[in-house]
C-alpha cells in the first residue's frame, strides 16, 4: 500500500515510539514570538539548561507590536516588556531574532516562507495555532502550547500521537471573484469548525494545484479553524519556483539534492485516507461569515440560517452568536453596513493580497464613514508594496497602510475594533471579542473586503465584475 504525503514526512521524523503511547517526534524548524515564549524560557532557566539547537529556532516580534511609529518605544508597558523579554531570551540563548526595526520583521507565518526558511518535507512548530500555514509547502506544521515550546527549545522534540488522515479535494474551475479565502470559508461552512479535529488534512485537486503559493498559504492557514492538526499541500513546480533564490533557500548542489527529495513528496495513488471529502470548485461563491466561529459562513448572496434550519442542540450557541452579532435569523448579509475594514493577518497580508486589493480599488475612494486599515504581513511585503506604488493607490483611496504585525486580527496591540462596530476582516477568526471587546467581525476575502471599503457595505464582488464587463464591452 502506498503512503500519504503526511506519512512520508511523519515516518522520517519519529525518533522512537513508546509502547501504546505517543512518538518522540523531531522538529526541524521552530519559530517563536513574544507572547507564547517567555514562560518557556523561564522554564529552561529554572532548570538551568540552554536551548538545545538554537540554529533551528527563528524569532520575531509580531503579536504585540504597534503598527504605527514602530521606530518609537512601545507605549504599552506590558507589550514592551514582552518584546524586551524576547530580545533578552534570544540574546542569552543565541537565537536569531528579526525584531522591530529589522528588515525581515513581520508576522511569523509570513516571514518563514518569504525568507525561504519554510521548505517541503520539514517538521515545523510555533506557539501559534496558525503554524498550519507553512503546510502549503508540503510539510508537517502545527501550533503548540508553551509547555511544548519549552520541550522543543530543550530537546528539539515533542511527544506526538499520529493523527488520522483526511483529504479534501477541490476540482474544477473557480468562478470569477472567488479566491482562496472563499475556498477555505466554503469548506468550513460545509464541515464546521470541528469538522477536521483529530485529522491531518491534505488539500488536493485541480483547483488547489492552480493556486499560487500565497493562495495556498491562506487555505492551510485556516485548516486549524476546522480543528485540523495541520493542513498540507503536496509541493510542485509552483512551490519550487517560489522557494528558489530566497534568502535561506538551498542553492547550487544543495538545491539539486533537496529538489530531488521534494519531488518524492506526494500521496501515492494507492495511499489510503481515513476520510475523503470532494468539493466542486464551481459550487463556491464569494463567502462571508455571519456568526462567531469561522464555520458559520454563507455565500454573500445567501441568508443567515433561519431558526428552523438549526439543529435543536445547537440553538443556544446559535442564538447567543446572532445576539452578539446583532443579526436576525434568516436575515440577508448583503447590504449590511460596515464600520471598519481590516486587510491583514497571517491569512491575507502577503504581497499578492495587497495587489489584489490595489487592483480593485485603483481610481476609487473609500466610503466616507468607513475606516480602512491595511497591515502588511512583513517589512519585506511593505517594502515591495511601496516599490510597486501600491501605497500610493491606497493613499488615494483613503486607506491607511500601517506597519507589519498581527494587529486587529486579535487586537493585542492598540488596533482594536470598538465595541458594537462591524468590521469586515481578511483575518481568520470571528470569535466574540477577538478584534476587541464586543467588536463584530465578518470574515471575507481581500476582494470582498475591498468592495466593502468602497461601498461601505457587504456586497457581491461578482456583480461588480459583471457590471464593469458590460461597461467595458
Amino acid at each position: 500500500m502506498g503512503q500519504t504525503l503526511f506519512e512520508k514526512i511523519w515516518d522520517k521524523h519519529v525518533v522512537k515510539t513508546i509502547d501504546g503511547g505517543p512518538s518522540v517526534f523531531y522538529i526541524d524548524t521552530h519559530f517563536i514570538h513574544e507572547v507564547t515564549s517567555p514562560q518557556a524560557f523561564a522554564g529552561l532557566n529554572k532548570r538551568g539548561i540552554k536551548v538545545f539547537r538554537p540554529q533551528q529556532v527563528v524569532a520575531t516580534a509580531d503579536h504585540n507590536v504597534p503598527t504605527l511609529n514602530q521606530h518609537l518605544p512601545i507605549k504599552e508597558e506590558l507589550s514592551r516588556l514582552q518584546v524586551e523579554a524576547l530580545k533578552k531570551n534570544c540574546a542569552e540563548h543565541g537565537i536569531e531574532l528579526y525584531g522591530l526595526g529589522h528588515p525581515f520583521q513581520g508576522i511569523v507565518h509570513v516571514i518563514g516562507p518569504e525568507l525561504g526558511i519554510t521548505q517541503p518535507g520539514m517538521t515545523i512548530v510555533c506557539g501559534d495555532s496558525h503554524t498550519s500555514t507553512h503546510g502549503a509547502f508540503g510539510n508537517i506544521a502545527f501550533g503548540i502550547g508553551t509547555s511544548e515550546v519549552e520541550m522543543v527549545l530543550a530537546t528539539q522534540c515533542l511527544m506526538q500521537s499520529k493523527p488520522k488522515l483526511m483529504r479534501i479535494s477541490i476540482d474544477g474551475k473557480l468562478n470569477k471573484g472567488v479566491v482562496s479565502k472563499d475556498i477555505v470559508l466554503y469548506i468550513l461552512s460545509q464541515i464546521t469548525a470541528s469538522g477536521a479535529t483529530g485529522y491531518a488534512v491534505e488539500f488536493a485537486g485541480s483547483a488547489i494545484r492552480s493556486l499560487s503559493m500565497e493562495a495556498r498559504m491562506t487555505i492551510c492557514n485556516m485548516s486549524i479553524e476546522m480543528g485540523a492538526r495541520c493542513g498540507m499541500i503536496a509541493p510542485d513546480e509552483i512551490t519550487f519556483g517560489y522557494i528558489k533564490g530566497r534568502k535561506f533557500a538551498p542553492a547550487g548542489a544543495e538545491w539539486d539534492k533537496k529538489l530531488a527529495y521534494w519531488k518524492t513528496l506526494y500521496s501515492d495513488a494507492d495511499a489510503v485516507f481515513d476520510k475523503e471529502i470532494n468539493i466542486k470548485a464551481e459550487d463556491i461563491e464569494p463567502m462571508i461569515t455571519y456568526g462567531t466561529n469561522p464555520g458559520m459562513g454563507i455565500g454573500v448572496s445567501g441568508h443567515v440560517p433561519a431558526l428552523n434550519e438549526v439543529d435543536e442542540k445547537e440553538k443556544p450557541s446559535f442564538e447567543k452568536s446572532l445576539a452578539y452579532m446583532g443579526l436576525q435569523p434568516g436575515a440577508n448579509i448583503k447590504g449590511k453596513k460596515v464600520d471598519y475594514v481590516f486587510i491583514g493577518s497571517c491569512t491575507n497580508s502577503r504581497i499578492e493580497d495587497l495587489r489584489m486589493v490595489a487592483g480593485f480599488v485603483k481610481g476609487k475612494h473609500k466610503a466616507d464613514d468607513v475606516e480602512v486599515w491595511i497591515v502588511p504581513g512583513s517589512k519585506q511585503v511593505e517594502k515591495q508594496a511601496i516599490e510597486e506604488g501600491i501605497d500610493k493607490i491606497f493613499a488615494a483611496a483613503g486607506f491607511i497602510l500601517r506597519q507589519p504585525g498581527c494587529s486587529a486580527c486579535l487586537g493585542m496591540n492598540e488596533d482594536k475594533i470598538p465595541a458594537g462596530k462591524y468590521c469586515i476582516s481578511t483575518s481568520n477568526r470571528n470569535f466574540e471579542g477577538r478584534q476587541g471587546p464586543n467588536a463584530r467581525t465578518f470574515l471575507a476575502s481581500p476582494l470582498t473586503a475591498a468592495l466593502a471599503a468602497i461601498t461601505g457595505e457587504v456586497g457581491d464582488i461578482r456583480e461588480y465584475y459583471s457590471k464593469s464587463e458590460l461597461v467595458n464591452n
Partner: protein, 199 residues
C-alpha cells in the same frame, strides 16, 4: 499547581455552550504576562462581567451562579478550539478546576491541558447530556472521575462511562511526570537520531 491526578470527586459547573474557543476562556489582552500564574481571575472574563467591570457580574453565566461550585467543568462539544494559547489551560487550572468534561476537545487545547495536569475527559454525547441534566436538576450532584480505572460516574445514580487516555499520559498524570523530563532523559538518543537524519 497540583501535579498529580488520580480520583476526583466533586460537584461540577456546567457550561452548556458548543465551540467554546480559547479567546473566550482567556481573552488576548490578558496574554501579556511573562509568568504562568494568576490567569484564573480572568477566566471567561468577558462572559463573566458586563463591560469588563468586576462589580457587574453577568447573573446568567453559570460560573457566576452561587449554586454551581466544584473542580469539574462540564462543557459542550469542541471545547478549547481556536488559538493555541496555553494560557487557557493555565486559567482553568488556576480558576480551581482539575477536570474538564466534553464530548469533543480541540487537539491543541487537549495537549495543553494534559501538560498542566488538567484532565480532559471525553464522553459520549449521550452521557454529556445526562451530566448536564443531572447537574442542572441538582447542583449538589457529585461526579466522580476515576483516572486509574478510567471512568466517570454520576455518584447519586451510579450511571457511568469509561473514557480513553493513552497509557503514557495516564502514567504521567498519576505520578506527576512531565513530558520534558522524559525528553531530557533521552537526549542522547535524539542526538543519535540527528546524526542519521540527514536529508
Amino acid at each position: 499547581m497540583s501535579k498529580q491526578i488520580s480520583i476526583i470527586r466533586s460537584t461540577a459547573v456546567p457550561l452548556n455552550m458548543e465551540n467554546v474557543d480559547t479567546d473566550q476562556i482567556i481573552p488576548a489582552r490578558f496574554l501579556k504576562a511573562t509568568s504562568r500564574e494568576g490567569f484564573g481571575k480572568n477566566l471567561f472574563r468577558d462572559w463573566r462581567y458586563e463591560n469588563d467591570d468586576e462589580t457587574k457580574p453577568k447573573r446568567d453565566f453559570s460560573l457566576n451562579k452561587p449554586a454551581y461550585r466544584g473542580s469539574i467543568l462540564v462543557a459542550a462539544k469542541n471545547f478549547g478550539c481556536g488559538s493555541s494559547r496555553e494560557h487557557a489551560a493555565w486559567a482553568i487550572k488556576d480558576g480551581g478546576f482539575d477536570v474538564v468534561v466534553s464530548s469533543f476537545f480541540a487537539d491543541i487545547f487537549k495537549n495543553n491541558a494534559l501538560n498542566n495536569f488538567l484532565l480532559p475527559v471525553t464522553v459520549s454525547e449521550d452521557f454529556l447530556q445526562k451530566l448536564f441534566a443531572a447537574i442542572e436538576q441538582n447542583p449538589a450532584t457529585e461526579i466522580e472521575v476515576n483516572l486509574p480505572e478510567q471512568y466517570i460516574s454520576i455518584v447519586s445514580s451510579g450511571e457511568k462511562e469509561s473514557f480513553d487516555i493513552n497509557n503514557y499520559k495516564k502514567t504521567c498524570l498519576l505520578n506527576g511526570y512531565d513530558d520534558i523530563d522524559y525528553l531530557l532523559s533521552i537526549k542522547e538518543e535524539i542526538s543519535n537520531y540527528e546524526k542519521e537524519h540527514v536529508i
